[in-house]
């Protein structure tokens, strides 16, 4: 496994290992109830989830060992480079997608509690502003797009979207 960041992969693989263990020993036994008849079958409802979780545990363990080996091999200057402090722009690049995700989530919440019209009127223009859109007609284009889509879904496709 070639990796850009072995340390990151190490934690990722550890996460998958823990997830697989949780699945095998807690989630599957508790979330898939089987009767004695099902248990007697060669193939019970738990078979595929156990197979997939076993696979997840096996492959994440292999990945973990590979990342560990890559981490040990990492030379000192590379380690230092990895530890180098991020600039403000780098922090913005890192966090901006999560901020957009928060906006998308708030779009969902507004859609759920106030309806699609209010959600679509409020959130996407905020997103446009955050994307450094400063021309008024861009906002107008968005509203026209939304109006067309709303009409298409409700009037043409018959989706009861409110």
């Amino acid at each position: 496994m070639k990796t850009k960041n072995p340390r990151q992969d190490l934690f990722l693989m550890l996460f998958f290992m823990l997830l697989a263990i949780a699945l095998i020993f807690y989630i599957i036994p508790n979330q898939i109830k089987i009767t004695s008849i099902m248990e007697a079958e060669t193939f019970s409802p738990r078979s595929v989830p156990y197979l997939a979780s076993g696979g997840l545990l096996l492959f994440s363990t292999v990945g973990f060992l590979q990342s560990l080996a890559a981490c040990i091999k990492l030379r000192a200057p590379e380690k230092q480079a990895a530890k180098a402090k991020r600039t403000k722009e780098e922090w913005t690049d890192l966090l901006f997608p999560y901020f957009i995700f928060v906006l998308i989530f708030s779009y969902y919440l507004l859609f759920r509690y106030f309806g699609i019209v209010i959600a679509s009127v409020v959130v996407p223009p905020v997103m446009l502003w955050c994307l450094r859109c400063r021309k008024w007609y861009m906002y107008a284009i968005y509203y026209v797009f939304f109006a067309i889509m709303y009409l298409l879904f409700t009037a043409v496709l018959g989706v009861p979207i409110k």
């Binding site: 409802p45 959130v123 994307l131 859109c133 968005y142």
Partner: protein
């Protein structure tokens, strides 16, 4: 025949074909947005349509998007989609020589001919394959499902382990909901909405479309209101369709490569384009012109990448096994319409599948028409600033997810999968094995269960039957191929070092 034609030719179908092609070309021409994205976004609109116009919309986006990538590849040296990566090599030098119009026309003609030959291959090969598939039993079916999965995992060459992890996660997500045999609930965590399981279409909408907003937002923020610029002037083309006869060998070879590569699960347009380009250069009378502005260098990859469009549908329609993410999306769309792809679709009396295959020919012809008439418009539209596109994508995804079954639960699944898609890309986890496993999971499980029940629990049943044994061995070989290749390379390097005189 007449009934098939009347099924294909009606106003709604023709409109959907053209809308799909138009949107596909525009999205394909925008750097950063893939053909998969084009098909996923249009999936939101196909939800409310009947199966045939819905499929035409998606097929139009697929064919149009595959061609659209060549526009920016030729004009701004940036492939609109990965499929057009090889087109850049000769398309841009041609444009710099003042032959942008010729390069664009060559791409259009190549794409159309490749697409038409691929559609013809689909029409002739799929029914024949369906006859063979009718005698296939569950062990073979299970082996073929695993082959489809292994083929997509093997695509992530340097990341086989992550590909395998992604496939395992896909299988786990597929298990959520009702067990297909005993109807007992699995991993629903007390949520009634999860009883029906995860809708693969919503998951793909999140993974491929909404997550794109999160990938692209930094680039859009930095670009601000500035539209894309193009230093190359769009010149008028002097190329005619008949001029293509000069290159018939290149076109035919690229089409055959595209058809063969497209029919193999896990490959796709990018591999076919590269393969066709290399072969055209190898067999060309003027190989020295390649890379400096050869028309053949544009024709070959564009014919090759569009020649996969019909062929990729062969395993999807005949076996119900998607070879790539786009076919997985189409399979999801078909399942939503209550259509189960498989050999039974080809039985006498069923005109649906023939209408879909015949429609593909019309779609390619409409692409030729749109490409010839609106090329200037496509060039301008492809320069729309990305920051206006992203909020539009969010709105479309939200409305589309709700339209799947008029339930807000799909929207929260969409939002979660958007974040998952972003994180998967950030951590280099390929999302295609996840999607293929999610779509193929229940087919895998049903056939595994059936095989084991019939064989009284004998796990070697798959190796006792010749077809399933061969398919399983090929699947295993596919997974281990990158490791074997690496071992051979290391061995060669070691030998080379030993043979070098000190």
């Amino acid at each position: 025949m007449l009934s098939i034609l009347s099924e294909i030719i009606n106003a709604q179908n023709l409109l959907m074909m053209n809308v799909g092609i138009f949107a596909g070309i525009i999205i394909g021409a925008m750097p950063g947005l893939s053909v998969t994205f084009a098909v996923t976004v249009l999936l939101t609109l196909s939800v409310g349509l009947e199966s045939i116009p819905g499929m035409y919309l998606l097929l139009g986006a697929y064919v149009g998007g595959t061609y659209g990538g060549s526009i920016t590849a030729i004009l701004i040296n940036t492939p609109g989609t990965p499929n057009a990566a090889a087109t850049v090599l000769d398309g841009y030098p041609l444009a710099k020589q003042g032959r942008a119009g010729d390069a664009l026309k060559a791409a259009l003609y190549g794409s159309t001919i490749g697409g038409l030959l691929s559609a013809a291959a689909l029409i002739f090969l799929a029914p024949q394959l369906a006859k063979i598939v009718e005698v296939v039993a569950s062990p073979e079916y299970f082996a073929i499902c695993l082959f489809g999965l292994a083929a997509t995992i093997s695509l992530s060459k340097d990341n086989i382990i992550k590909g395998l992890i992604s496939a395992m996660l896909g299988l786990l997500f597929c298990c959520v909901g009702l067990d297909p045999a005993f109807a007992t609930t699995r991993m629903i965590f007390g949520s009634r909405s999860l009883v029906a399981g995860f809708n693969s279409v919503t998951c793909m909408l999140g993974l491929f479309a909404l997550s794109q907003v999160l990938f692209e937002c930094n680039a859009a923020r930095k670009a601000g209101d500035h539209a894309g610029t193009c230093g190359i002037k769009l010149t008028k083309s002097t190329l005619k369709l008949l001029d293509m006869l000069k290159y018939w060998k290149t076109i035919l070879k690229s089409s055959i490569f595209g058809i063969i590569i497209g029919a193999i699960p896990g490959t796709g347009g990018t591999v076919s384009a590269m393969f066709s380009y290399n072969e055209a250069r190898r067999s060309s009378k003027h190989p020295e012109e390649f890379g400096k502005g050869s028309l053949e260098g544009v024709l070959a990859p564009e014919t090759g990448n569009n020649a996969v469009t019909g062929a990729t549908m062969i395993p999807m329609l005949v076996l119900g096994i998607p070879g790539d993410a786009i076919m997985a999306i189409m399979l999801g769309a078909l399942t939503m319409q209550g259509i189960t792809p498989g050999a039974s679709l080809f039985k006498a009396g069923s005109i649906w599948v023939y209408a879909i295959m015949g429609g593909l020919i019309l779609i390619n012809l409409f692409m030729l028409l749109q490409g010839s008439l609106f090329i200037k418009l496509f060039v301008h539209v492809s320069r729309i600033p990305e920051n206006i596109l992203l909020p539009c994508i969010v709105t479309l995804c939200m409305m589309g997810a709700f339209a799947i079954n008029n339930n807000l639960f799909q929207n929260i699944v969409l939002v979660c999968f958007a974040l998952a898609g972003y994180l998967m890309k950030k951590f280099d986890i390929p999302s295609i094995p996840f999607v293929i496993a999610l779509v193929l999971g229940s087919l895998c499980e049903t056939n595994l269960r059936r095989s084991l029940t019939v064989s009284h629990g004998d796990p070697f049943v798959f190796f006792k039957r010749p077809i399933s044994c061969v398919v399983l061995l090929v699947s295993i070989a596919l997974l281990f191929y990158p490791f074997i290749e690496k071992g051979i390379r290391m061995l060669r390097e070691k030998r080379a070092k030993e043979n070098t005189p000190k």
